[in-house]
Amino acid sequence: MFIVDCDCHNYWSSATVLEPYLSGIWKDMFIEGEKTGPRGSFPHGHRPWFHPQDFSRKDVRPETEADNYRIMKEKHLDKYNVGVAILTGDEPIEASTLANPYYASALVSAYNDYQIAEWLPKDDRLMGSIIIAPQDPKLAAAEIRRLGSHPRMVQVLASQGSVKPYGDPFYHPIYEACAEMRLPFAIHLGGHGGVNWNAVAPAPTTFFWETHAILHMSAISHVASMIAHGVFEKWPELYFVVIECGVAWVPTVLWRLDADYKALRKETPWLKLLPSEYCRRNIRFSTQPLEQPPNVQHLWSILEAMDGENTLMFASDYPHWDYDDANTLHIPPSWRTKVMGQNALDVYKRIPAILTANAA
């Protein structure tokens, strides 16, 4: 069985690795300017919740920059026979929290160049994400076009936290660029701070676990917004990938969207399909962290209601504290070939071409 991990975090030990990829005023600000912590911190507007035991697995303890890949290879890629891992960075998506869109865009560009230069050459199994700072969609679109032809950059990635729901026409230049470069647009949990203050309704919650369990509120808004604003009518081949936002909420939200659309379709006359039909055609969800009810049949009924066999894609979230390993993912056994890899190969169309080239 071929495994594609749709969420593999390539950590750095210090954000100073980006210095060679920055220039001019941005390099000056990055080195001399205020940061979120001491030198080596990545500039971002922090969220109001601190993780009580931090994000990383405690058996992943890099001491040098080289350790970050060495441990990923040993404890994840080789151990679980991962065929392809899509790198999702870690802190760089947090650039979306900065008010200054020009600095944010420079930071993600530097990260993208660092990823291409220092991560992709390490291992043929690694594929990259073009991380964007969505607060300036025109600059984000330029970044997508700058790197969109690279054969191993397989998606455009932004944080779940954003200043508006992602279907808003404000963001459409991003999807135009994605469609032009034939790249999926993905969002990953995170970016819930700084200018993206409204991560949860009606106001920030108190504790980390309480918050983490309901952060998919933003993903619900994005799914509804992408559908309602007609993104998938304008770009019918665009895939929207929702990473690390859970999945068990999806069918119940679609039931509600379909019911309300049937009554009130006059508000959005540009739509031609039911919300659930757009979702089935254009939206994919990564599995991690897959919900764990006491009776797994309850989960499987819900996953069936969202056609999970065809809409779910495996993700590990290596090396985070809520990691799902490939061997024990609790999905129906007959779905494994599709969910663990095939569905991702259908969405990330560049990957099969690379695999063929590598094999030749």
Binding site: Q53, R57, K58, D59, W321, D322, D324, D325, T328
Partner: protein, 117 residues
């Protein structure tokens, strides 16, 4: 048939730093809690993670109101991946005592620690 495996000397295990050893074919963490020693299988019953590679720590005492009493220092191991807390002496998960990490008998003889498995 259970057999006795030599682990290390008593002074090689400090509270907070378990000794992870091979016992037959098993990876086992041996912990010091005060003056006693306890062994847990290095596999978490929650999702199979390397349980004993997480921090040996204390935790917050159950209370009726918002007070934070950090207690049981070094009596708890917090799993390396998902952070579930286990009582090192019994192997029971704090959040659900029916979830248990496997424990093994530990013997100390002449300053040497042995685990039977």
């Amino acid at each position: 048939m259970a057999e006795k495996t030599y682990i290390c000397r008593v002074d090689q295990i400090k509270a907070g730093t378990p000794f992870i050893a091979k016992v037959r074919s098993l990876s086992v963490g041996v912990f010091r809690v005060g003056e006693t020693f306890h062994a847990l299988l290095n596999i978490c019953p929650h999702r199979g993670a390397p349980l004993c590679e997480g921090p040996q720590c204390g935790t917050t005492a159950p209370v009726e109101e918002a007070r934070f009493i950090y207690h049981r220092e070094n009596e708890i191991v917090r799993c390396a991946w998902h952070g579930w807390e286990f009582d090192i002496k019994t192997g029971s998960a704090l959040v659900d005592p029916t979830v248990r990490a496997r424990t093994f008998p530990v013997m100390v003889e002449d300053g040497n620690i042995y685990v039977t498995a």
